[in-house]
Amino acid sequence: MAINQQKQMASASLRPAIKPVDTAGSALASTVRQPQELTGAQIFLQALVDEGVETIFGLPGGVILPIYEYLPDYPLEHILVRHEQGAVHMAEGYAKATGRAGVSLVTSGPGATNAVTGIADAFYDSVPLVVFTGNVASNLLGNDAFQEADIAGMTRCCTKHNLVVRRIDQLAQAIREAFHIATTGRPGPVLVDIPKDVLTAMATYDPSERQIYLPGYANPEHFTDEELDTTLEILQSAKQPVLLMGGGVITANASEKVVAFAERFKIPVASSLMGLGGFPNQHPQYLGFCGMHGHYWANIAIANADVLLIVGNRLGERQTGATSRFAKNAKIIHIDLDPSTLEKNVDTFLPLQGDINNILSALLDKTESSEAQAGFAKSMATRNNWYQAIEGYKQRKPAKNHQENLLTPELVIEQLFSHMPADAIVTTEVGQHQMWAAQRFNLSQPRSWLTSGGLGTMGFGFPAAIGAQKAFPDRLVVDIAGDGSFQMTLQEIATAVDYKLPVKVAIINNGHLGMIRQWQGKIYTRESQAVMTSPDYVKLAEAYGAKGFVVNHPSELDAVIKEAYAITDRPVLIDFRVQEKADVYPWVPAGGANEQQWVTSDDATASQSPQSKANATNPQTIKPNKDGGFA
């Protein structure tokens, strides 16, 4: 027998057969209708079933083995991951795509600490998550026990709420409260830490008990009729209004209301990174994406607005640019459910605290009166002038980076979108590809754009895509990834293969940490640690049991994308070997005002320091100054 044949047979015998997913429950599962004595692990599982949980993303460990002992008895599908960070990002993708709480289960110590990045990511993007961590037995807490970690202490600043369950009789209520907190008000991650002895103790579980005790939790609305009248007057007298929406519109399921409102008032609408998909892309009133790498015309419209209505948007500085110069000509009205978001980053003329749907509905109701109609007729007369001005702004845009015989990242991303059906879901990693994708995003359904905005977590997109694919097995799910980001969580290819989740990963492979290289090239004086190698992704895919493609030339794009999108039984990696050094434009330099965007590379070059320009052409000119530093 040839040596290669012998090796293949040997490796095949070492590879365990993949077991089918356990979905069937026993007679015990979901039949607890009367108070019953159960172990803590059974109470845990039953409480999840009673909360409507269907899927858990997790990885077993010593202290949570009691849960895994009983898990097959319950109608819960467990997705076994390869790293706890993947579990939490998958739960995030599931939650972002569905609006329901994502659930993760991880063990103590390193299992819990591996989950922290995902938890913080969910916190900054207001994602409803419930993360369960096991912990060592209560009598060992504080003993530096094996795999002990004060995970509640570690995550106190990056969870909406967290708690340690100290007694078995607290467990069911803790789980109820966790789901309530995660999914109401401004959503966010809740961590519930459960010591092992709580899981093995016995207690009575009463499914009819629904008590919640949260004296410090409320989601009040604070807006008055007078404030609504003031808002209406301001909008009626506005000559150049803009509505700036954020991810909160999608979280609140308020997209339809925003569209109705924008159409009634004929206001152009811009979106933050997190709000993409919340307003129909093809709508004539849609301006597009604003911020650091946003569309020039969206940024200029906001800068020239006389009234800025901000809806479900926390105004992060990547979006506003220098906050002291953001929308300086505008009267700002800010609608948000979270009071701590109002007047935090930007001075506001009129903050309205409440649910977007309620406030916009109330405003729309007020427009029905004949007085309001008369007011509108007057203001609409000038609205066409404003739209004409915006059309003028749209004449300024970066040149298309389409070059014959060169695979450019922009062309790849445009082609990825052009082949997608209307109900596709797109996730991204973080970096240049994320910004190019945001600029070219053309889907029109809420919850079709899943990205890491606040924390900006490289490695988010692929596991999030797996979570979204789990939620919607029949939709096309594409992760647009950089080669740097993808290598952070690519171990989850195994998870996608195991559960036959046909996520498509489009790797924009430029052999660099692209955004780092871009900043070093234009803002700093030299490239440093930005070159990154990758494995052969086709061989990697095949090693995992996935499908791999490589694309080197524009002529290959159409056929490969079509073939990749048609695969439905396994994940797909597409290695797009793109132009190494392309920069994302437009670009607001950090600390600059949005209207000072560099729209083309010539704008950026003109702004570079002489030293930086010199180094760009000849690195040998770098010399230390007399104090030992560099120019």
Binding site: G153, R156, D338, T348, P351
Partner: protein, 90 residues
């Protein structure tokens, strides 16, 4: 430096004091005086610290107020529109 006093009740069995002090420390405020009372479900806390800027103090109050473990923050951070305008125009 303007001296500020923040009082609240919090569920300390949930780590409420840790959360409150973490919020202050993260923003660069160090307590000058602190008084805590009560071991039951809701502990009363009074913290005195320096904070020069009204707006920064206001933002901190709103952050603390929204924490689930914290109840009844004083001074109340919910300003009316007229009060908010008065502060911005002062």
């Amino acid at each position: 430096m303007s001296e500020r006093t923040l009082t609240c009740k919090l569920q300390n069995q949930l780590g409420g004091l840790d959360k409150l002090l973490g919020a202050l420390t993260h923003r660069g405020f160090l307590p000058k005086h602190m008084h805590c009372e009560g071991q039951g479900d809701l502990m009363s806390v009074r913290i005195i610290f320096d904070c020069e800027d009204d707006h920064t103090f206001y933002k901190l109050l709103k952050y603390v107020d929204k924490q689930i473990m914290v109840v009844d923050v004083q001074p109340r951070p919910n300003f009316s529109v007229s009060e908010a305008l008065a502060i911005m125009n002062s």
